[in-house]
Symmetry: C2
Subunit: 184 residues, 2 copies
């Protein structure tokens, strides 16, 4: 069995104090390639509750890209330039990038979701107020579950699959708050 080379008590000492110049940095987005924007836009709005913040069509590189995130309609500026200004300060967006033609190319096998070899990227995660309520609705909508809270290796979060097979963790902070064992 593999051993950790990490002394948990030393973890804090491995972290440096951030440089003042990074003070206004924002963890802005994660980019995922998608096969079919029609399916992705439907899934992430209707099923998951995100909104399209803005998109960019780039015919020169045969690509369209869509920035999505959770936002209240009333918070999104009506003017496109202001929307982009606002969206560029919004952490946790997802950029879905479509390379023209993958949706109609029958020879295209789809993208690698990271859950099989070669591994690296694992999943994105949505924190919800109540996992049980969220999962009940997702089940009713016919969403495919990769792991449900009672079957996974770790109790608590559920994992669903998006139209490209990417895993989305449905989590809440509750599990870790209730059991601080192992918390660093």
């Amino acid at each position: 069995m593999a051993k950790s080379s990490l002394n948990i008590d030393e973890v804090e000492s491995l972290c440096a104090e951030p440089d003042p110049s990074t003070r206004d940095y924002i963890s802005h987005h994660t980019m995922l390639l998608i096969k079919d924007p029609k399916k992705t836009l439907d899934f992430y709005t209707r099923i998951l509750g995100m909104r399209l913040l803005f998109g960019v069509d780039l015919p020169a590189i045969s690509t369209s890209t869509f920035f999505m995130g959770f936002a209240k309609a009333e918070d999104i500026p009506k003017d496109k330039a202001k929307t982009i200004e606002w969206a560029s300060k919004k952490p946790g967006c997802i950029e879905f990038r479509y390379e023209y033609g993958t949706d109609t190319d029958e020879s295209f096998k789809g993208y690698h979701n990271g859950e099989s070899d070669p591994r690296g990227f694992g999943h994105i995660a949505v924190c919800v107020p109540n996992i049980d309520d969220a999962c009940k609705r997702l089940e009713e909508l016919g969403v495919e579950f990769a792991e449900n809270p009672k079957q996974g290796k770790m109790s608590g979060p559920a994992y669903i699959k998006d139209p490209d097979g990417y895993w989305i963790e449905i989590c809440s902070g509750k599990k870790y708050r209730e059991d601080l064992t192992g918390i660093i």
Copy 2:
């Protein structure tokens, strides 16, 4: 040359109004597997300016996991349970997951960064106030660039590599605000 099957004018009609039950959902984190937490913790704090929000050591599954993000020190609660409550409401965190032993296993070749086949996950992105200033500092710190603004296919953002080879886009909203061509 591939064609887009998407009528840009119809993109909005492909998006549904979010269900009210999703109102408080948060785009919380992206999970990436890492080979060596010592290198990752150093890189994301000292170089990039993130902080370790909390970590969890899970010996039962030989895993430690680290939730990191941009945060002001004064905003992080001192009490661990409160930190988790706070961190679970913070969008755009990155979860770095370490499976015991990868850092000392000479046969372990590292993780797949998504920039070669099979593709899917592309990169994470940090929005900064000024790309030039940020890149100058990153160059001085000896960070490896995957693409710099003058060499990339798209003008504007830079891409750097983290210790596992994952690409990090260094972006700002400025480019898209200044040129609204193709904006959806």
